[in-house]
């Protein structure tokens, strides 16, 4: 994992802890709905807070299924 990937993952973990009460280790293969056990309200919060944290606008976001997808989407949006 490159430094930037690790950094993005750590950022998502911080957001998830602060805003949706997620505890535990965040790994790229975890699925947002099934593994993180977030309901739709928390999912909305996570999306918005992640965007604010990284100052990006996520695209095609409904197709994002895993933490890894989210990391990739954020990195892509930052490079754009």
């Amino acid at each position: 994992m490159s430094a930037s990937e690790a950094e993005v993952l750590a950022g998502i973990a911080a957001v998830a802890r602060a805003h949706v009460g997620f505890q535990g280790e965040l790994r790229p293969e975890l699925r947002l709905v099934e593994d993180l056990e977030l309901d739709s309200l928390k999912m909305l919060s996570l999306a918005l807070e992640v965007e604010n944290h990284f100052r990006v606008c996520l695209d095609q976001e409904a197709a994002i299924e895993t933490v890894g997808d989210l990391v990739a989407a954020i990195r892509e949006a930052r490079d754009a």
Partner: protein, 584 residues
């Protein structure tokens, strides 16, 4: 100009008031101003484009937009083109696209949508839904349609104004068809409640989604009818930062703002002191609370929490309504604050009688019928009941739906001799309505109705659940902050009781994955525990009643930690029983 009788005529009139309109907040709380004259111009242009696609008068156009100017172009554009707009939810954020597609396809099919108009940003996420439902004119964004001459159709007041869904679901979506006459009647009744005052004009703030009756019909259309000014906050911004709602009310000195019970609860839970620097909520005259059961605990907590920022307890106004009546049916007296009374539990639970009792269950009044509405409490045989007797709530009034679109049997069940059977249970006390529960099978969670079948189908697919033997019900427990989602399911007979907790956890996960709803309680029952009708159908409300009365096995509340504990305990128990068998 004669008094407008249709939404397009209201928009035409509002175009003469350039100081009024909509103020839209983006997700960084930046404002943009959209006066009614501009909305009218844009709508005429959009109508020209929509008409060019070949949509005929009365045909349905589905709209998929986030809160923003695009929604109003498409909504008023469709109306001015003579079509019937059907606002639908935009895609959810992150994950669950498959469920969204199935749900949207079902709703498109239920209304026979000829065209889908969508925000360019969400359009490509609609591919699967559109492929399934195949609207004849496809899914387009407004700006890619050919520009035609601006257009404004002549619309009859008996024509349909819009279609809203009573519950958004993949299984049995019920499209509620509302006439121009009904929608205008509702907007006028609401505006009649807060006439212009000597010390100023009322103005509203809303974060409610525009595909929700309280957002579109309760906020936007009265602002159009007046015409007045309304500020809109994107719903997803509110959910993530509820403080934005309170800050916006304060900054704009707004007087009216509605929300379901859960929003007040979310504010108490999430808003931090430092987010409210300089906030003064004393301007907030009417804080409507509707669309889901009102929890007295939440109202008290909200008053207590925000009194420091000038919130006035007398602003809290519990109301009652349903999409089949366009929106509101009863209102508490304005400026009084909420009223609650305590009633003896037993006769209430048996749906018989309401007797005041000092240490009984606390219920909040939702007030009296709005002007033009009448209300009756009836027994199962349809006879009117005296005040204090519990029965089904029926309403009559000027804004009832025409019916469920394309569903004559469902319409005939709901509408009889001009009366709408709300499917809710309640009683009158001192002339005011108190709700005690539901005769109909519907889940009300976070201000939205869901069909139980949607949740039950998800449970059915879980290995170890007896096929077709799960019920989903929601109710407001005493002292809780909001409605709880309860799953009652039967395990297969070969499943040992030690595996029940793990099965409950699996069912819970399946529901969350399929619907985005998190069950609050799960009870795994032995086969045959759930009550059925003589034809074998599950009786959801009876199952709930028995579960509450402890006549089904009482489940423990589900929290992730408790669940994990239960799973561990259950596997330990299994290991022990294996060892015991090995020794024996």
């Amino acid at each position: 100009m004669p008094e407008p009788r249709t939404l397009d005529a209201l928009l035409q009139r509002a175009a003469g008031f350039p100081d009024t309109g909509l103020r839209l907040l983006d997700r960084f709380e930046r404002e943009s101003w959209l006066p009614w004259p501009e909305i009218h111009d844009r709508a005429r242009a959009a109508a020209g484009r929509i008409r060019g696609t070949g949509v005929a008068p009365g045909e349905r156009v589905a709209l998929v937009y986030p809160t923003g100017v695009g929604f109003f172009d498409a909504f008023f554009g469709s109306l001015l083109a003579g079509a019937v707009p059907v606002p639908l939810y935009p895609p959810v954020r992150l994950g669950r696209l498959a469920e969204y597609s199935a749900r949207t396809a079902a709703m498109l099919e239920a209304v026979g949508a000829r065209l889908v108009l969508a925000d360019p940003g969400v359009r490509r996420l609609l591919g699967e839904a559109v492929e399934r439902a195949r609207p004849a004119l496809g899914c387009r964004s407004l700006d890619e349609l050919d520009a035609g001459p601006p257009f404004q159709a002549a619309v009859d007041e008996r024509a349909l104004a819009l279609i809203q869904f009573s519950s958004g679901t993949t299984v049995e979506p019920k499209p509620v068809a509302l006439s121009q006459r009904a929608v205008l009647a509702q907007a006028r009744i609401l505006n009649g409640l807060w006439p212009p005052r000597a010390d100023g004009v009322d103005s509203g703030v809303s974060w409610l989604p525009l595909y929700h009756d309280m957002g579109l019909i309760g906020c936007v259309l009265p602002a159009l009818e007046r015409p007045g000014t309304l500020t809109l906050i994107p719903p997803e911004l509110f959910v993530a930062r509820p403080a934005v709602w309170l800050r916006t009310i304060s900054r704009l000195r707004a007087t009216l703002s509605p929300a379901p019970n859960f929003a007040y609860s979310l504010c108490v839970a999430k808003v931090r002191d430092e987010e409210l620097a300089g906030v003064d909520l004393s301007c907030w005259r009417v804080a409507l609370n509707g669309a889901e059961p009102v929890a007295p605990r939440v109202l008290r907590a909200f008053c207590e929490r925000f009194a420091r920022w000038g919130f006035r307890a007398e602003a809290l106004t519990p109301v009652y309504g349903l999409s089949e009546a366009t929106l509101a049916v009863t209102f508490s007296e304005l400026g009084r604050g909420f009223t609650s009374r305590r009633f003896d539990r037993e006769p209430l639970a048996a749906a018989a009688e309401a007797r005041e009792q000092p240490d009984g269950i606390e219920l909040v009044s939702v007030g009296r019928p709005l002007p033009g509405f009448s209300l009756e409490i009836r027994d199962p045989a349809g006879r009117a009941l005296a005040p204090g007797r519990v029965g089904r709530v029926l309403v009559r009034g000027p804004s009832l739906m025409d019916g469920y679109l394309g569903r004559p049997e469902a319409t005939a069940e709901a509408l009889r001799d001009g009366w709408l059977d709300t499917g809710d249970l309640g009683f009158l006390h001192g002339g005011e309505l108190f709700l005690t529960g539901r005769a109909k099978d519907v889940l009300i969670l976070r201000g939205r109705c869901h069909a139980p079948s949607e949740v039950e189908h998800a449970v059915d697919a879980v290995d170890g659940v007896r096929t077709g033997c799960a019920v989903a019900v929601s109710h407001l427990p005493e002292g809780a902050a909001g409605e709880e989602l309860v799953l009652l399911l039967e395990a297969r007979s070969e499943l040992p009781a030690a595996d029940y907790p793990a099965l409950g956890a699996a069912a819970s996960r399946a529901v969350r994955t399929a619907t985005g709803l998190a069950p609050d309680r799960v009870a795994v029952l032995a086969p045959g525990s759930l009550p059925r009708t003589s034809s074998g159908k599950l009786r959801r409300q009876e199952a709930l009643r028995r579960w509450l009365a402890d006549e089904l096995r009482p489940p423990a509340p589900v929290t992730p930690i408790r669940l994990a504990g239960a799973v561990v305990r259950s596997s330990l128990a299994m290991a022990r029983s294996r060892r015991a068998r090995g020794r024996g």
